[in-house]
Assembly symmetry: C2
Homo-oligomer: 197 residues x 2
DNA sequence: GTCTATACAAAGATAGAC
DNA sequence: GTCTATCTTTGTATAGAC
């Protein structure tokens, strides 16, 4: 029995996740409600509870899907032997550049970080895991690139990875608050300049 | 008639602001309520409404006080002719280093940035102003320091200022989510290394 | 699987006594 | 200036019909 037999092609469950994710990325988790999502989708609140009994269940599912998507994408980039390590770093920049063009969008986990202590524990754990996993990914690409003499860094790969990640996340938040899209380009340009060929 | 005649030495109004600020910095604006603050202070919700009729009034007052405090402190550092520009930058790092030791603290405006679109308009405006003003302060110190040949930067002062600011704000958020205090030290150390004497 | 109806608590806010 | 009492709306959640 296929999923398609139980749900429409674009399943309600996925529509709920999409809508919830968008709302969390723009407004945060604490500020959203079943009513907001229901209204956006033209369904009833009770239908959301059918798929996600509690708000925590919904929140966890959103973060879980988001982090899994990145996990898969980053693994694929890492394994791709056609890419130089510099190209892998450029690939990492891409989602940040995409968010830069959406005036009220930041990284899901960047938004959640601002209200961290108010989140259900499992959302905290997955957000934490997202941050650690991205920093580790960057560290490994930077380490190999430097070992290959592909580029040099102004510091240890681990610390440079932390710096990069904090900068990109911070820049998205500053970009949205100031409304100045060039923030992202400036920051990424500076970053590129520090990875010296 | 002095303020002291109307209010106790440690006025209720200030206690409310302190408590609200702490709660916003840890949990975010959307997640806090009059009930939380009232319970913490051992007073009734109605007493808070006496000083701050609406939640937006309270939120605006908190951000206003926070930004004014920084405005004054940064102006004083800027005018202090006994400090080198590098020392002024070090002074800028200090509050971030202080927050690093408080496991669940981030910058007030960093927390607000995560839920930006859910904030009352005046809170948005003041958060935006905070970001712009800090970036401009950094830019001016960096510009003068470079003109004086006190140090050199790996890029234009304006872009370096943006990078620094995004990095510091991002690092606080990552620090809290991962629980790893060394995040802040690593980032600040990298930053120092890039301001070359 | 989606709906209506409803329960229950929390949140934001006001009126008026003291 | 702080309290009690109260109101209204919203948010989360469940029961049960269709």
């Amino acid at each position: 029995m296929r999923k398609a037999d139980e749900e429409a092609v674009t399943g309600t469950k996925e529509k709920i996740l999409d809508s919830a994710q968008y709302l969390i990325q723009t407004r945060g988790y604490s500020a959203i409600s079943y009513a907001h999502i229901a209204e956006k989708l033209g369904i009833r609140k009770a239908s959301i509870h059918y798929y996600f009994p509690s708000k925590a269940d919904l929140g966890v599912a959103v973060v879980e899907r988001y982090t899994a998507m990145f996990e898969a994408a980053l693994a694929q980039v890492l394994e791709n032997e056609d890419l130089t390590n510099r190209q892998k770093i450029e690939a990492y920049f891409q989602p940040y550049r995409d968010y830069a063009d959406e005036p009220e969008m930041v990284c899901l986990c960047g938004a959640l970080a601002g209200e961290f202590s108010a989140l259900p524990e499992e959302m905290q754990a997955r957000t934490r895991q997202f941050f650690l996993s991205h920093q580790n990914w960057l560290k490994s690409v930077l380490t190999v690139g430097e070992e290959n003499r592909e580029f040099r860094l102004p510091g240890p790969p681990g610390k440079f990875a932390r710096m990069m990640f904090a900068m990109l996340q911070g820049a998205l938040l500053v970009k949205r608050s100031t409304g100045d899209i060039s923030q992202m380009d400036d920051v990424i340009e500076m970053l590129r300049g520090q990875i010296v060929s």
